[in-house]
């Protein structure tokens, strides 16, 4: 995929986008291994992922569903579907 077909802004070259990767939610009060997993590990298995892409010229974030096996965008996801509550972390006593 070199052109990203977006319902809102049309077909744009992916060079106009920054790719953040799969949507991941920081865990609250995570133990060390859970947190390290969140920070350092990414899911590399092929499949349909929900990913965030930032379109620099418009300054907008988009969430696309992409099949990473065929490298095709399947759909667009509304941000409200994947919102999360601000996490928290207390230093263990």
């Amino acid at each position: 995929m070199k052109l990203l077909d977006c319902a809102d802004i049309g077909k744009r070259p992916i060079t106009e986008f920054d790719y953040l990767g799969e949507i991941r939610i920081p865990p609250s009060d995570a133990d060390e291994s859970t947190w390290a997993d969140y920070v350092f590990n990414r899911n590399g298995a092929p499949g349909v992922l929900r990913e965030r892409w930032y379109h620099r010229p418009t300054g907008r974030w988009f969430i696309f569903e992409r099949d990473t096996l065929t490298d095709q965008i399947i759909g667009q996801v509304d941000a409200s579907e994947v919102r999360y509550e601000e996490p928290h972390y207390e230093i263990p006593a």
Binding site: M1, K2, P26, V39, R52, R60, W61, R83, Y89
Partner: protein
């Protein structure tokens, strides 16, 4: 031009304009429109080059941009392809890869050693003993190189264009022209591209003398030139296929990156040579090469010819030779003449001898072809005992074709060998990719035109999203146009399979027998197809040989695929013109007028320093140093002004603005009092410092954020990401470009500024770290008391269109206090004296706030969350290094700059790398060299002298010292100089 024919109906040359040039010291003349090769041949120069390995004499093979043994060298270019490069007046050419002169190449006897240079020779011979390899490598490179590079070249930059089309048709032969017309007439926006300077393809050389073709030609060409929906790009070759139909079209002026929705490949076929002894002699060429020479350039390819046929097309070539006045001594057919068509009958009707079931067993001649040895051929080999000799100076090979399918493979098409056609043909094409014409097995003119229309029809259906059943195979010829085995063994060898690399038949057979019996392995071991033509006339025969040796089918043997770009592209075309947009601040012209030397800061241009005494021209290192020192002193003693318009400037508005900033930055921003600012430090999830700046509160629900120049865009991106992730009610305004900013710094700043603004600047109403809004010269401004450079100072943020006027006014009023503009370098020194870090200079991709001595900016206890908090909680007590301040002895003065400690120099302790200098500069305020270094623990805490390894290899001692180096209690940031004194 003794070999020039009478005018040919379709010739490319313009006989009214003659061109003269030099080759190997001799003067030649040709016509405008000639290629280098055609002009040389017309002038009687048959020997055009020497082969890569054995330095054998070589000449024309294809005239189709694959003639790798006719590569020339001019004063400023090398590996010029003579077969397609147009002649230009006055050009002075030499042959490439020649030791001495072309005619008397001193290396021409290497061929005699060929039996000691078997396949894989380099790999086997030179790798032991290892220490001699550099010697051998140098020798081999010298002997085997192609051309010389002019190292005093001047850079040329070619424009790079972007193109768009609904249908891109590659190749303007009959099927391509028809496809373009059919698509355009159905309403599509079409680009038709062809590598040749004129469209027509084989219609104009192979069928040049066909009456039936003449009408088709006239009709197609006039309809194309009259069709406004077709954009014709002649003299451009499609160099490769990239995802989503992105096809670089390379032309004489540069590259056009074409984005198409549908691609029709009408790239045709590449004629393949027959393999027999001495098949590389000058005078042995492909039939299509002779047809091109005659039809395009009106050059007579020889006097007396033999034509080797494995298909009908060879007979057409024989007829063309006769028409051009070449005596055809015989036609040699690999098979039965009775199976040939109309052209063979015409040849026989002219009384030409046809020897069928025969092959060329060997070619003979010293330096050029003088005779061929013909022998009976049973489809596998020759009966040499029954051979006879035919004197001739020209031998045409017309034994078969290989598809120009490189881009089909690149696009993911599936191809397979069709035994009926004896050709590799497309089987399955991906969405948006179409193939037609001879590439798709359609060989007669009627088939090719019908196939072009079909491809266009299918492309249009896909374009409109209609369902389409492909009729890919409908218009294919039922008759083969390639011989399955045009390969003749000979006990004495020299039957070349790859003339790029001088590979003989036995080399490939031996490679297979040595176990390199996979097509990819064989290619790499034997180097078959790895020369400049990239297998365009060796790959197909290579596959046939390997299949024969291994007893496999062609499909089982497979084919190597050509990576894009599959044809050499000049680096100047790839590079294109420099396109790096620069951002300029409103004061840019002022800076230039006042001697600023500019530097890149991300996308921006910023003054590095000002050298007013030397308005233009180069500045010596001493002058540079002096300017920086003076700028620093001006800020410390009186007044300085720096353009900081490049800072990221973001306004954050809405009920959740404070919450957002609390998440993004380490420190609590929601508690900032209105009218105050706070240092803002951002880390990533792993706790690494990524940016710093300040956050100021304008109102309960409005904040003003600054970010570093290079991180401005990323800061905006991060803020908007968190808004989306958390669903916050916040709006952002990126004011980086619309606002300018400058920092008026120095003891006199308050006095100078107060005369120009309605903002009360007194210490009580506008303290350190305060932020106020008001007017300055009637413009709305936001003033911020900042401390980066460590003096009383005001950052002035204002509309970009007001900035220059305010800047000039400040310079004017400030002149009473000896104001100086200062640049990035002076600012770096000033902040270093204060021990302030620069993110990205004093920190790297792993530095956390604790290592940068900023634990004060990490409120782990009082804030429930910020990005990176759990990581920092973990890192707090496990730091392995720390940033320290250091200084050099008073009066340190190295003999040369290689003795001077510099940024990135390593600190070595007990032979181990223990740290690295991140910042170092001469401090005018302290009169000595100071710096920051990231040093491993526990050494960083030991407070002992450390050894820095400098460029010369010597060690220089540095002594740790506390930061800030200057005004440790920060008294100067809060008061006028008079108050301090």
């Amino acid at each position: 031009m003794k070999f020039r024919l009478d005018p040919q109906p379709l010739e490319w040359i313009d006989r009214s304009e003659s061109v003269s040039f030099r080759f190997e010291g001799q003067t030649f003349s040709g016509f405008s429109g000639d290629s280098l090769t055609s002009a040389l041949l017309a002038g009687g120069q048959k020997l055009l080059g020497r082969s890569f390995k054995y330095h054998r004499p070589r000449s024309v093979l294809s005239m189709a941009n694959h003639d790798v043994n006719a590569l020339f060298q001019s004063s400023d270019a090398t590996n010029i392809r003579g077969d397609v490069t147009p002649v230009s007046e006055g050009v002075d050419l030499r042959a490439c890869n020649v030791n001495g002169t072309l005619a008397n190449d001193k290396d021409r006897y290497i061929g005699l050693l060929s039996r000691f240079l078997p396949v894989g020779f380099y790999y086997k011979t030179f790798h032991k003993p290892k220490k001699f390899f550099p010697y051998w490598e140098r020798l081999i490179r010298e002997k085997a190189g192609l051309g010389e590079i002019n190292t005093s070249w001047s850079a040329t930059r070619q424009p790079k264009r972007y193109g768009f089309s609904e249908v891109l048709v590659i190749g303007a032969g009959p099927s391509g022209m028809q496809a373009a017309l059919s698509a355009a007439e159905a309403g599509a926006d079409v680009v038709l591209v062809d590598e040749n300077p004129r469209i027509g393809g084989s219609l104009d050389y192979q069928l040049a003398n066909e009456e039936a073709a003449a009408k088709v030609r006239a009709d197609l060409k006039s309809r194309i030139s009259n069709n406004a929906k077709i954009r014709l790009m002649e003299a451009h070759y499609a160099a490769g296929w990239y995802t989503d139909h992105y096809v670089p079209l390379v032309g004489p002026e540069g590259i056009t990156k074409m984005r198409a929705e549908q691609v029709i490949m009408a790239t045709g076929v590449m004629e393949q040579p027959s393999v027999f002894r001495n098949n590389d002699l000058p005078g042995v060429m492909l039939a299509s090469a002779a047809q091109r020479l005659i039809a395009r350039y009106a050059v007579k390819p020889g006097q007396r010819a033999v034509v080797l046929c494995g298909n009908d097309e060879g007979y057409r070539a024989a007829l063309d030779l006769i028409a051009a006045g070449v005596e055809v001594a015989a036609v040699v057919d690999l098979e039965r003449v009775g199976k040939r068509g109309e052209w063979a009958k015409q040849v026989q009707a002219q009384g030409i001898t046809v020897l069928d079931h025969s092959a060329i067993y060997e070619a003979q001649g010293k330096g050029a072809l003088s005779a061929v040895v013909v022998a009976p051929f049973n489809g596998k080999g020759c009966d040499a005992g029954k051979s006879h000799v035919i004197p001739c100076d020209l031998l045409l090979m017309s034994v078969g074709w290989a598809p120009a399918a490189q881009m089909l493979y690149q696009a993911g098409a599936k191809l397979g060998y069709a035994s009926q056609a004896e050709q590799i043909l497309p089987r399955e094409l991906p969405q948006g990719i179409h193939a037609c014409g001879r590439l798709n097995g359609a060989f007669t003119l009627e088939q090719r035109l019908a196939d072009g229309s079909r491809a266009a029809r299918e492309a249009l259906a896909q374009l409109r999203g209609e369902a389409v059943v492909s009729e890919l195979t409908v218009h294919r010829d039922t008759q083969s146009h390639s011989h399955p085995w045009p390969i003749i063994g000979h006990p004495k060898g020299k039957n070349f399979l790859d003339i790029d690399e001088d590979l003989q038949l036995k080399d490939l057979i031996n490679a297979a027998k040595e176990g390199f019996d996979n097509i990819e392995l064989m290619k790499r071991f034997s180097t078959n197809g790895m020369g400049p033509s990239q297998g365009k006339h060796s790959n197909m025969n290579g596959i046939r040989v390997l299949a024969s040796v291994t007893g496999k089918t062609i499909d089982e043997t497979g084919s190597t695929t050509a990576r894009p770009m599959f044809h050499p592209v000049p680096v100047s075309a790839l590079a294109g013109r420099r396109f790096r947009p620069e951002r300029l601040t409103p004061m840019h012209q002022w800076h230039l007028k006042h001697g600023a030397r500019m530097m890149e800061a991300g996308q921006w241009q910023r003054p590095e320093f000002y050298a007013p005494s030397t308005a233009a021209g180069a500045v010596t290192a001493a002058q540079r140093e002096q300017s920086i020192v003076q700028e620093v002193q001006a800020v410390r003693s009186g007044l300085g002004l720096i353009d900081v318009s490049t800072l990221g400037k973001i306004e954050v508005m809405g009920p959740d603005a404070g919450r957002l900033l609390d998440v993004v930055y380490t420190m609590k921003m929601s508690t900032i009092k209105i009218g105050m600012t706070r240092y803002a430090l951002a880390v990533d999830d792993s706790g690494v410092i990524i940016d710093d700046g300040i956050v100021g509160r304008i109102a309960e629900d409005r904040f003003y954020v600054t970010a570093t120049t290079s991180h401005a865009a990323a800061a905006f991106r991060t803020l908007s990401l968190k808004i989306q992730e958390l669903g916050l009610n916040v709006r952002l305004a990126n004011l980086t470009g619309s606002l300018a900013a400058m920092n008026l710094a120095g003891p006199a700043s308050r006095k100078v500024l107060s005369a120009l603004t309605d903002v009360d600047l007194s210490e009580e109403s506008f303290p350190y770290l305060g932020m106020r809004e008001g007017t300055l010269l009637g413009y709305p401004v936001r003033l911020i008391r900042v401390g980066f450079v460590g003096e009383l100072g005001y950052e002035i943020h204002l509309p970009a269109n007001a900035a220059l006027e305010v800047w000039e006014k400040l310079m004017d009023v400030g002149s009473a206090h000896a104001i100086r503009p200062f640049g990035v370098e002076a600012q770096r020194v000033l902040r270093l004296e204060k021990g302030h870090i620069i993110v990205g200079q004093d920190t790297d991709g792993l530095t956390n706030p604790f290592e940068a001595n900023m634990s004060w900016a990490v409120p782990l206890k009082s804030k429930p969350w910020f990005t990176g908090k759990p990581s920092l909680a973990r890192l707090k007590n496990s730091c392995e290094r720390r940033l320290i301040g250091f200084r050099l002895p008073q009066g340190f003065s190295p003999k040369s700059s290689s003795e001077m400690p510099k940024e990135c120099h390593l600190i070595i302790q007990d032979g181990e790398i223990s740290g690295r200098i991140t910042s170092i500069a001469y401090s005018p305020s302290l009169g000595r060299i100071i710096g920051l270094a990231m040093v491993d623990l526990p050494l960083a805490d030991a407070n002992v002298p450390m050894q820095v390894k400098v460029d010369s290899g010597a060690f220089v001692a540095i002594e740790p010292c506390a930061t800030p180096f200057y005004d440790a209690d920060g008294a100067r940031q809060t008061a006028d100089l008079t108050e301090v004194a």
